[in-house]
Structure formats: structure tokens, C-alpha cells
Amino acid sequence: MTAATDHHVLLKLEDVSKVYSGTVAVKRANFEVRKGAVNVLVGENGAGKSTLMKIIAGVEQPTLGRILLEGEEVSFSSSGDAVNRGIGMVFQELNLFGNLSVAENIFATREITNRFRKIDSREQERRAAEFLERLQAGIRPDMLVEDLRIGQQQLVEIAKAVSLDARILIMDEPTSALSAAEVEILFKVIADLKARGVAIVYISHRLEELIRIGDYITVLRDGRITGQERMKNVDTQWIVRQMIGSDAKDFAKPDGHVPGEEIFRAEDICLPRVTGGLAVDHVSLSLRAGEILGIYGLMGAGRSELFDCIMGRHGHATGVIFIAGKKVRERDTTRRIRRGLALIPEDRQREGLVSILSVASNLTLASLSRFVRLFHISGAKEIQAVTQMVRELAIKVAGPAQEVSSLSGGNQQKVVIGKALLTGPKVLLMDEPSRGIDVGAKADVFRTMRKLSRDGLGILFATSDLDEVMALSDRIAVMSNGKLTGMFDRAEATEASLVAASALGHGPVPHMESHAHD
């Protein structure tokens, strides 16, 4: 490593500010992007990271300030402008066309055509396959994007950005839906790009990742830059201090309360896959009041599908569930929510939020009946509950009437969590609840989970983060290929045993393998 040589500054932001209605997202920021290096940007939810990057990528225009590309002042009026100057970006929220194939998405707006201006899909698919191969994604270029899991979609986003052959590649939380193995592959790709002199800007809330791959780090707080360092001079503590102005709140410790009676049981849940086989394969599990049951597994292990079955989202799923010993006969989501089940879905854009409604309407959407007398929604009661939830989860909003789509990614996630909590559930299903939220907020969410479990809730909590599942769970279930492949008490669980169980019955996925090699 020749870390001693200073990297040449490729792009520079000078005194850039960005004002939105209701918020100043970025205040007089100076930011440098260095060639052949990974430039890390961190900050709390709503600190302005995505905004700053959208300015570089031409999606947003700065209210004030200058952008210098190799010393020359530039202004981008659209992302097309930025792409032409060699700037590509992986956005935090997926920007894909669900109705188009993976290859068509990768080459959207840059379609490869033959002499007669006809799109050459064969060539597009061949080239797309190359990029996907580098990410070892196991995604066929002719698949429809809407049929992919969210993690796979994220890989498509990354492939799309990599295929731009950009000089500056911005990645806004590219790993939020990826599994550990996929992250490793991405890091290899990043190292490769770096060696070729690409300047990479990397945003993530997973601090270990940053320490591992970063060369330079910039910290944003409330729209201001509060620290800029070489990565080798800093540690996690420093980052957290710059980010939130104090030391990290520790992960909530187990408080030693004893779980009570069984509150939830699932028996023999099966869900057939459209392509044949079972997405959820005879899964049975039981959960006690006050217990947090972590469900660990790789992407596609069937955790989200299991949750969907429990919530009654699939009419053709089989199996029975019991709440507090009573069989749940209701088969639709509405009545299951009334029976005390609540789900925090993994994909907040598609399933969690009604983006054109306000924060308040989103928060109370699942629990309106609580604020209703006869058929009248009591505005005062509703606002009171909303304000309380906003305070409890520290959601950063200008006001309850703000449109939810204008919140930062992490704060949107908090709204989804708040919506489920407001239903006053007995059993809470959390699918990757910490996706995209900052360290402080993560600690808050985990503390909330502990508090809820102390109050007697049963929590089923799916994650592909080993540390999280080890730190939080009273028991850990492992799923692989739709099957339950392990059940551990916290005391006996080790990382190795979890990983081993999560790979059981996995092997190479047959149909994807065969395609990758032809």
C-alpha cells in the first residue's frame, strides 16, 4: 500500500448550501473527492449526506456555493450532465424500472443499438451479464426487476452505476440490503475500481465497513462538516463523537427479565413458490411473551416470506398460527393486525410508506381505529399520539404535516417502525428494522425493542447482521432455503454455529449456476 502518497483532488465542493422547504439540508459544506481513493461520508439520519451527494450527481442544484471539477467550475442541471462528466451514483432509494429486465435497467438511457437504431438486447444482456458476474450476484440479465429481492435490486443498482465507467462513483448506502458475503464481493469490486483510479464516495451507517475500506472520512452533522480526517488516524469512537457530539450509546443490554407464557406459535407454515418448490418450507416456531427471537439467515432464506405468511398476505400459504394459545382463524391482514400482529416490512418505499401523505397520516394509518369515536377521527388524540411517537423515536421532521417522502432515508424507516408500534401489537415482526438508520437511532430502536419486550411483547426479528442478532436475541432461529435449520439459546449460540446453520442445504443454487456459465 502506498498510502503515503497524497491522492489528487478530483472534485471539490466549496461553501455549498442546500435549502429545502422547511429545512436547510446542507450548510456551507466544503468537501473533497480524491482520485483512486474511497472517500467516506458519515453522519446521522438527516445530516444531509444524500443531499450533498445528489448535488454532486446533478440531481439537486446547490442553493449557494460552487462545484469545482479538476479546478474548473461546473454546474450540472441534471444527472445526465453529471454522467457526461463521468460522475455516477448509486442512490439510497432504488431507482429501477420494475417492469423492465435487469439488462434494460442497466442500459436505460444508454441503450445499445444496431445500425438500424434497433435495441440490440442480445448484446445488452451479454454486457450486463459481465457486470453482474463481477458482483457474483446470481442474477440473470433477462429477469424482470420486480421479481428480484430487494438485495438483488440493490446489486442491479450497483452494476448499473459500475457500468457507467465513471471517474467518480458515489455509493449512498449501497450495502443496506446486502448480506455479509455480498458485501465482501462489493468490497472487492470497489478495491478494483480504486486501483483503476476511480474516486469513490461511500456512505454507510455500518461503521466497521467504513473503517475497513475508507481512505478519507468526512463527518456531517446537521448539514455542517464537523470533521475531516484520513481514515488511518481515526477509530469508531472518533467517528461517533464527531457524528453525534457524544460517545455512542451502547446497545441495550439484556435486562434479565424472564420471558413469560407462550404468546405466539406458528405451526407448519408452507408457502409454495411460483417457480416451483417452497419459499417457506414447513416452518414451526414458538415465541414467549417478553422474548426477542432473532431470525438469522442469508438473503432469500425465506424470512420475509415467513413474515408475510404470518401476516396473512398470501392466500395460498398453509399452516396455522396461534396468539396467546388461541388459534387465529382470520386470514386477512386487517383482522390479523387487530388480533395483535404487526409487521415492519423490509422495503419501506414499496410496502412501508404512502409517500405522498404526511408523516402523521403515515404513522397512524394502521392504528386509526384507536383514535376513532363512532366514526370520527379525533384530531387531538391523533396528533398527541403522533407527537409522542416522533419524540420517542427521535424522528427528525419539520412538523407532523410534512410529506413523508421529504424525510431522510433513516427517518422514513423510523416512521415505518412508529406505525407498527402505534397499533399496540402483542407480537411484533421486524424485518431488517435497522436498515439505513444511524448508530444513535439503532441504539434507540434496540432500546425500544428491549422496553417492549419487558412490557410483555413477543418480538420476531429478522436480520442478516450477525452482531445485531447476537446482541439482541434471547433465542436465535436460523433459516436457510425456506427451512428452519437451527434454533439456539443465546448462551449456546456462536457466530460459527449460526453461519454454519445458515448455509445448510444451500449449496450452489442450481438454475442460477447453470446460467452463469453459459
Binding site: Y20, S21, T63, M311, R313, T334, L343, V354, L365, V372
Partner: protein
């Protein structure tokens, strides 16, 4: 140096916010503008008799537009309302004249109140058919209601072989008199149809704003999938909006045949387009999730007064169409401009604040 742009922005900010307020109230301003224009340009326009006549015309479109608003907010469209108006008018006319022949030598005659209820039920039922096609059979709303448009119109024509049911005064000995009350009756000096409009409009506005069902209508239009996972009964919400739209159309069918004291099977042709126009003029977004009953009513008034005023001025009906079309387009353009301006104004205010 820093002083000058600051001052400039203060000035343009206040200009901006004035403009913004104007644009927000644009449909209202348009309403006042057409009122002022016609009161000058058309003699007798402001006479009480004319105003009442006009509001009776407007009321018809306003009913349909309210039903349409809810449908559009859920992300759908209801093209069948015009045909439902026609069919319901025929149902009412048929019942007044012929009653229901039980085929065993008896014929049941209903009183006017019962006839109204039956007619409304028919409208709601057709709405339910729309809803079932859309929710159970997954037919796209445009296609489902287009199909029902033809079927309902065809049934209306079949019911009388294309003829008009004339002279719906009824017979005192059968108890079928009094059908004219809806169309010609007055309460406290105002036509009955206006009172019904007020009641339905207040009810619909209340529903949209203060009830879970109203909230759910918006949620379904905003993100159907998220709504479903949040426990919203999406299918029930959709059934409701199409049934409500059918109900509104039935009300209009009743009022029209009562006003004319006759039912004609072609009544209501292209009414659906006027209803959509009023909803859009009132700020309802065709992509769903956005809209208000109040806005729609004002929109209906703008369109209604415009066409009546132009008639009074003697403008040819061909020009009337051109003008109506332009007004709709301008309204939507202004709507877009307002959104852009809104973000610019707040931006400038924030910049000023620091």
C-alpha cells in the same frame, strides 16, 4: 455586497408569497373572475332567477364530480356515471308509469319515496358491479367502467325501445304523484336539488377528512401495497368509492327526470367527462392520492357558470367547447406552476432566515 442580494430576495419573497397565495386560491379566483365577467358581459346574469337556474345546472355536475373525486383519489376512474344517470332516470320513469307487473294479474305501484329509494339502489348496485369487476376480477378501472358504460346505456335504451317515458305526473289513485318535487320543489326559497347537494357535499367532505374510510381512500391512492400491509381493506375501499359514484349518478338521474317530468334514455351522455373536468379543475390529481371535495365543487361551479354564461352571451356552442377545453388545460398548467413556485418561495424564505 451581501446586503444587496439579501434585500432583493426579501422583495421577491414577498412578491412570491403573494403570487403563491393567489395561485393556491386559483379555482376560487377563477370562479370569481367568471362571475364578474359574465355579470358585466351578459345582461340578467346576476338576476336571482338566473342564479338559481344556474346552480341547478351546476348541482348536477357537482354530484357526479364528487363521486368521481373519490374514485380518482383511489387511483381509478369511473366512465360509467353518465350511463348510470340515464339508466336510473329510466328506472324511475318506468316505475312511475308502469309499476312492477308481477305476472299474476297484480301490478305493484310504489309511492315516490319508494321509487327514489329503488332508483338509488340501482345506481349503487351498478357501482358495485364496477367495484367487483375491478377488485375481484382485476379489470383495469378504465376498461371495467367503459364496459359498464355501454351496458348501462344499452339497458336504458332497451327499457323503452329507445323511446321517452313522458309525463311522469303519476296517478293519485295509485299514489304515484309528486315526482316533480325533486326537480321543481323549493325549501326556504332554494331548489330541493341544491339542498341535497349541500347535504351530500358536507357529508362527503366530512368523510374525506375525519373518518378512517376517508383516510384509507387517500392511502389506497398513494400506495396500495403499503395500505394493504397497514391493514387497510383495499377492496372494500374501492367498492365503496364506485358505489358512492353510482349513488351520486342515481341522484342526478332522479333529479333530471323529475325536472323534465320525463325520462329519456340518452340522458347523461358524456356527463362523465364534465365530472372528470370538474374534479381536475378542483385540484384532484389523476395519479391518485390527492384531491378535495371543496375543490371539486368549486371546479364544477367554474365549468357550469362558464357554459351557462357563454350561452347567455350567445357564444356558439362550438366556441364554448374550445373555451371549456382551454380552461381545463390552463387550470392544470397553473397547478403545476404552483407546485414549483411553492418550493421556490419557501426556499427564498429559508435563505432569508439564515
Amino acid at each position: 455586497m451581501t446586503d444587496i442580494p439579501a434585500k432583493a430576495s426579501v422583495a421577491s419573497t414577498s412578491n412570491g408569497s403573494v403570487l403563491l397565495t393567489l395561485m393556491k386560491a386559483r379555482t376560487f379566483i377563477a370562479l370569481i373572475a367568471v362571475l364578474i365577467f359574465f355579470s358585466i358581459a351578459a345582461p340578467n346574469f346576476l338576476s336571482a332567477a338566473n342564479l338559481i337556474l344556474m346552480s341547478k345546472h351546476v348541482a348536477l355536475n357537482a354530484f357526479l364530480a364528487m363521486g368521481m373525486t373519490f374514485v380518482i383519489i383511489t387511483g381509478g376512474i369511473d366512465l360509467s356515471v353518465g350511463s348510470i344517470v340515464g339508466l336510473c332516470g329510466m328506472v324511475a320513469g318506468y316505475l312511475v308509469l308502469n309499476g312492477i307487473d308481477l305476472q299474476v294479474g297484480y301490478t305493484i305501484y310504489f309511492n315516490v319515496f319508494e321509487i327514489a329509494l329503488i332508483t338509488l339502489a340501482v345506481g349503487i348496485l351498478i357501482g358495485a358491479v364496477n367495484g367487483l369487476l375491478i377488485t375481484r376480477l382485476n379489470v383495469a378501472p378504465f376498461i371495467a367502467t367503459l364496459g359498464v358504460l355501454y351496458v348501462a346505456r344499452g339497458l336504458a335504451l332497451l327499457s323503452s325501445d329507445g323511446r321517452t317515458f313522458p309525463n311522469l305526473v303519476g296517478k293519485p289513485d295509485l299514489g304515484t304523484t309528486g315526482f316533480g318535487f325533486l326537480g321543481a320543489g323549493r325549501l326556504l326559497g332554494l331548489p330541493v336539488s341544491i339542498w341535497i347537494l349541500v347535504v351530500v357535499a358536507v357529508g362527503a367532505a366530512y368523510l374525506a377528512k375525519y373518518t378512517p374510510l376517508g383516510r384509507h381512500i387517500f392511502a389506497v391512492g398513494g400506495n396500495e401495497r403499503a395500505a394493504r400491509i397497514s391493514g387497510v381493506r383495499v377492496n372494500m375501499v374501492k367498492m365503496f368509492v364506485y358505489m358512492f359514484s353510482g349513488f351520486c349518478a342515481a341522484v342526478v338521474g332522479l333529479i333530471i327526470s323529475s325536472e323534465l317530468m320525463a325520462s329519456h334514455p340518452a340522458t347523461g351522455e358524456s356527463f362523465e367527462l364534465n365530472a372528470i373536468a370538474a374534479a381536475v379543475l378542483g385540484g384532484t390529481s389523476m395519479s391518485g392520492g390527492r384531491g378535495t371535495i371543496g375543490g371539486t365543487i368549486v371546479g364544477a361551479f367554474v365549468i357550469g357558470i362558464l357554459s351557462d354564461g357563454l350561452v347567455m352571451m350567445g357564444v356558439s356552442s362550438f366556441w364554448q367547447m374550445v373555451i371549456k377545453g382551454l380552461v381545463i388545460i390552463v387550470a392544470v398548467v397553473v397547478d403545476q406552476a404552483q407546485r414549483r413556485l411553492q418550493s421556490r418561495v419557501t426556499l427564498m424564505q429559508m435563505a432569508k432566515a439564515g
